[in-house]
Amino acid sequence: MKNVFTPIVVLVSLLVAVMTTPVKVSAAGPKVVSQELDVSLGYVGRGTTLEDNLHVGPISEMNTDVKYAASLPFNKDLLLRFGAEWQRFSFETPRAVAVPDTLQQGNAILGFDYQLAEQWLMRAEVQPGLYGDFSRLSWRSFDAPIVMGFVYLVDADLQWAFGLRVDVRSQYPVLPAAGVRWKFTDVWTLDLMLPNPRLEYDVNNKLQAYLGGGILAGTYVVGDHFGDVRGLPQLNNATVDYSEARLGPGFSWKALPNLTLEAEAGYVLYRTWDFFDQHINLNSKPLPFLQITCHARF
């Protein structure tokens, strides 16, 4: 069994290191908690799916994501983050293909935001939890991916970002990324930050239109008998990398100062279930999708 506790040890060590670093504590020291709640619901239409280039029938998808996080100032430069997330992909499969009925994750969020230098901010998060098809929960489903991001603020209109996702169970344990947010006119913003890069147009101070991309991805462990019922016993307890890449237009409406609703539609250009250990890969041809999202701040 791979050592899934390594990321936790790394992040806890990092947290302890940062917290024990002598940082000047503000005189006032107000403890201001800010809270975020993000809920999204999406549907991906039926489309041709191939398993190792062989047609296995159409597969539709429902996806749900609920994420809550609270941010608590520890001192002037360090904010602690706590929260939880539940994400579920539900696939309607026509027959016993090597696609799980569901892929789910239920995880905690533990991390921090920190000002590294005058123009540098960073965020580090570990997301320990269960990642699997939830047919039978076990320690095999436990994982703790780490996400780290660094932002360099050039000015109010231009910011650069550099990120890293570490998941030791994935085929690609370390995924680096870079992005930029550039407000190049009063109404146009190029926000190339993963996982949702966008070209945004401010219609007015409440409504925004955008052309956006989106990446949904995760690494999961399927059940003890997942392969047996599909005639592929080698897939019992197998690890699968699931990912999809989307592109489409959308609208963002600030219904209240602290509540934003988004709706977007377009195409899932790429979708894959990769049982990389067993060299079994399924992918879909482009499929239409519809997604609604709600962001609330308290």
Partner: protein, 374 residues
């Protein structure tokens, strides 16, 4: 300062209780209590007449190490303020040096022309007489060039203002008057003329009655009174407010204590500038207090037409002499209240504080350069 901690805890408890009352009553109660606390805080101590600038700075600022040599070479020190309990507020401190005496520096602070520095994106900046006249705002009509996108935005938002709605910081009476004024002629010249009346009324009222005259902004989610925002932010500057006790009281920003004569601003001004790609009008006042061999300055934007609500900047200016070079050491603390901060998550408020520093540094850099090219 234990008594202050207890009082702050008490105010938070009472704030929670005031949710039981109407918003207006709650605001009044909280405001009165804030005034009591501020008065207590600013009465706690007063600045010494003569002092070592570095020792003085360490007492009330966030800067623990200051290299005068580097500052005289043009370096600008900066520290983002801690996240405030006040949800709309952010603060930052800066420290820099300029090659002139404190008296000249303070004078230059009021007379330099920010329009000459392109990075500040100031379209117009004018001093106002005391009392001011309507004609002192007449050039505004000429400055509203719709070919510039930020100004086009401002013209559009002005023309969209009605009795019942506006995206600009206005009272209902102002919105009514503005809409009525523009009902017959919507040209940029007419917009300038109508805004001149609004600004003139606000400036005249402030000159007559000071901070007590500040009309609320009534088209936000709730009515916004800028002076209450300033007091809420000052309340959290627990190390800074005692240093500026006399200036804050004499200016009237906090309650005037008996025995202190009110201080008139030494300068009033209006400005038109770009804030976050939007043309923005502001009215400001500058208060100056000579304390021994140094100066204290309070600059307040008591009216801002949009993007943010209000700002207050406190300056302390000391004479310095290092390696044969003389000049002034300037410390400043800028407080800004903005609607976008109200529900900004933790890291977004950190980023806002950084942006405030970067923008303020631009201004300081331009101010320093203005000594080289008088």
């Amino acid at each position: 300062m234990r008594w202050l901690t207890i009082l702050l805890a008490l105010i938070n408890r009472i704030r929670a209780l005031t949710k039981l009352f109407s918003a207006r009553n709650a605001q009044k109660i909280t405001s009165n209590l804030l005034m009591v606390i501020l008065c207590c805080a600013v009465s706690a101590s007063a600045p010494a007449l003569e002092s070592d600038p570095l020792a003085g700075l360490k007492q009330f600022s966030d800067f623990s190490k200051i290299d005068i040599k580097r500052l005289l070479e043009g370096a600008i020190l900066s520290e983002r303020g801690p996240l405030m309990a006040f949800p709309n507020g952010i603060s930052s401190q800066l420290c820099f040096a300029v090659p002139s005496s404190p008296a000249e520096t303070v004078k230059h602070l009021q007379t330099w022309d920010p329009k000459r520095c392109g990075s500040l994106k100031v379209y117009a900046s004018h001093r106002l007489n005391d009392p001011c006249e309507l004609k002192e705002f007449s050039s505004l009509s000429l400055d509203l060039d719709p070919a510039k996108r930020p100004i086009k935005w401002f013209l559009d938002k002005t023309l969209a203002t009605s009795d019942k709605s506006s995206e600009l910081n206005l009272s209902q009476i102002e919105a009514h008057e503005l809409a009525g004024c523009l009902s017959k002629d919507a040209s940029p010249k007419s917009v300038g003329s109508c805004w001149a009346s609004v600004l003139f009324a606000r400036a005249s009222s402030f000159q007559r009655n000071g901070f007590a005259s500040m009309f609320p902004y009534e088209f936000d989610v709730e009515s916004i009174t800028p002076v209450l925002h300033l007091r809420s932010m000052l309340k959290e500057q627990v190390r800074v407010t005692p240093e500026f006790a006399i200036l804050l009281q004499r200016s009237g920003l906090v309650n005037v204590a008996s025995g202190f004569a009110p201080l008139r601003p030494s300068q009033y001004y209006w400005r038109l500038f770009d804030a976050d790609h939007h043309a923005t009008l502001s009215l400001g006042a500058v208060y100056v207090l000579e304390v021994g061999d140094r100066y204290q300055v309070l600059e307040v934007e008591y009216y801002v037409s949009g993007t943010y609500y209000t700002t207050a900047t406190l300056y302390e200016v000391w004479p310095i002499n290092y390696g044969g070079k003389t000049g002034s050491l300037v410390w400043s603390n800028v407080l800004c209240s903005a609607p976008a901060l109200r529900y900004a998550a933790g890291i977004e408020r950190l980023a806002s504080g950084v942006i405030l520093i970067l923008e303020f540094k631009k201004m300081v850099s331009c101010f320093q350069n203005s000594f080289k090219t008088p």
